[in-house]
Amino acid sequence: MQRRLQNINYLDFVLWFIRVSIIVFVAWGTIATLLDNPYSADVWVNFTVLGLAQGSMYALIAIGYTLVYGVLFMINFAHGEFFMSGIMTATVFIAGPLSASGYLNNHPVISLLLILVVSMITSVGVAILTERVAYRPLRKAPRLVPLITALGASTFLQYTFRGLFGSEVKPFPQVEALSGKISFLGTEILQTQMVVIIATVIMLVGLYLFVMRTKTGKAIRAVAEDKDVAALMGIDVDRTIAITFALGASMAGAAGVLYALVFRQVHFYMGFLPGLKAFTAAVLGGIGSIPGAAVGGLFLGIFESVGPPLFLDGLNVPAYHQLKDVITFTLLVLVLIFRPQGIVGERLAEKKA
């Protein structure tokens, strides 16, 4: 007993040391930056809006992690690839030809809707296939096993799409109707960012209503609560799980279109980082909760866009934008270590651990 206590003290000591040093580091960086005052207020607002737009995409992707974790208690590593597959396919088959023929800029609304539909359908198709082939047969296996297949599915899908469409970065055509800026509450905002934020809000509200109000949504919640009891109530569990994957993937497919609109390029590896970040967002908001994923996504987006200049600029870190992802991953690691239940969420992670 004596020895065990000592060990716990050692661990607690380390954890407290990490806590304190992170707080000191962040506070020091922030104060130094604010004293230095390198950016005007407008720049900070721009950082925030950019972060909101970025965070919207994270929120949409995070929905997929949260939904799947809710029903299966499994981290679907391949979710970032669902995101990538949709927009890659839509870019190559729809956006490219439409832009080449000039249709895209003559009829932007129809074109964008077409791209959106194709992207979502492809993502859903890939998700359902992946679930059927790689996850469903292993549902009763130990938790490590589906995680490993998910990892395999992720790599496999990345390199399948690399083989299909090539390894180079593909340009996504610029939509001229969205290229301008609009003024909103006294600040200039890029139109694409506005579209991204509005589209995300519509999608998230729609999804929330679907899960909360429809019969299928009820089935999903029932399966998330208890698969066996749900099956006894006459719910087709396999089908419901497939629908859950499809729902998450459709959101990812939509997020892919928004991503392409903002960054105007697609790539076979583009799913990895947003996927991992969206997972961070899902954990931040409390994995398993839909509003949590939305809040977590937005928070992460702003954090990622405002954080590096705020924390690192004052410390005279050269080329701090390179460390944007380090900040995100550090946040991920810290949240998982210190608050695996998320900022607002309940403690789901331990339930089935």
Binding site: A141, P142, V145, G152, A153, T155, I337, A353
Partner: protein, 559 residues
Amino acid sequence: MSNEKKFTLRNAINQGLLAGLITTLISTVGMVELFSQRQLIAGVMTMAQLFIFLIPALISFQTARKAPKNSILLFSAVTSFFASLPVLVLILLASTFGLRRFLINVSPSLIETLTFGQGPLVGSLILVLATTAVGVAAAFVDQMDEKIRKPILAGLMWTILVGTFSEILQERLRAFFGIGFTNLIIKSKALQPVAALIFLVVVTAISYFWQQRGDSIKKGLASQSATQRRNMTYAQRIAFFVLLLILPLLLGSYLSEVTNNVGIYVLMGLGLNIVVGFAGLLDLGYVAFFAIGAYVMAILTSEGFLGVAQTSFWLALPVSVITAVIAGILLGTPVLRMRGDYLAIVTLGFGEIIRIMANSDLLKPYIGGAQGVLQIPKPSFFGTSLIQPGQLYYVVLAGVLLAWFVSTRLSNSRLGRQWMAMREDEDVAEAMGINLVNTKLLAFAIGAGFSGLSGAIFASKLTSIFPHSFNLLISINVLSLIIVGGMGSLPGVVVGSLILVGLPELLREFAEFRPWMYGALLIVMMLAKPEGFWPSAIQKRELHADEESPPVEEVAAAD
């Protein structure tokens, strides 16, 4: 599970279409075309054609087993016929719409390969007929008596293997037997048809007689006395050791280089095997310790402007290992309370953080940023610089033997058993009095140490290192080879490295498709053979206890 149900013609069609879709997929991602230049048997068969027919043949082999006894041929014919249809659709689409605009690998030369250079119409017909014929042939083979079937399959497998690696065999044969003799067997990188036929017959015959005589030999071995048997194992061990020592002489420079790469992965695999296989802690940031070992070695020994000490390899080696061990403890401490998937994600995060930091301008003055560290000297041994792969081989071998020794000793030690108890159930292990903190930290530390050792050798082998060599794919690669070999099994690590690192290096066309294959392998292994190709004794025993159970429960038992 589908075994119990009645296997209908519809199932056969589904199976066939599945096989066809897989073949179409490997065609559209570019794998078939890539191999269309590699002759398996000169003038008779290319590797691309092997790929086209392999999956229909395998699936129709499967169908023949499940089909009702009186209509096996019909079933396999249907299966393989339907297997050719998706490929046919691909050919038609490609030759009418020009899919190349969208799918980069659906090129005219792919279509030429798929239609055997006979034009879309005739070629398609040949494809359908040939696929069906191959399927029926596979069913025939399946129906043969086991005593004949096994030798034939062995003969086919070995012939295909020899054909696949003919380029390397040619080089080796020339070194030993001269050009004249080699040209009879392998000429311009392709196995000659006559030689292939003779080889097929000889291997089949040998394996047939081996099967006949094998039982009596085994009986003879079993009837030996204990001393005799012990002497036998000693003799085997000594022979194996001598073989290991003279291997570079037999292999030549290129194959030694491949062996070195395999050895580096074996080292990493042995380390990760302790963390994942023994202790059950899924670490996806394992490459971080590899990177740390490599960078410490690089900075300590480099003769370029980033080098700080220009020490010798042998002095820097323990420093690299110790640094990696310390890093393992430091990164392991905060995650002590995490389990399963969250642990995996956190370690993945650590790995990425370290890679991005190595790439950033922040650390550029110390470790070179994206430009990496250059001019790392190769190790030297009593004044001789080990420049040749055949010389470096001994450094790698020493590392592997050391790691192997530590692993075997640990696996049966008190610590090893603690790890395995922890792997099975952490709470129960703790209740049994196992100190989880120390046990976990030791696993992380030892695993990291092996990885650091591997990284250090890697750095001085390559003489320059760059951050992009330390990406997530390496971690996935090492994880895959452990899983393919069998989690927790030491020989499994070697088998896994040979399959996953050795084979693709021998077939250089594979380079582009390595990650693709790893991904597919991870899924297929988990679905079909979760215990790996060379499972550890414990896992074997556990699986043996309930052989009749479906795969899913085998997983449960194996883990």
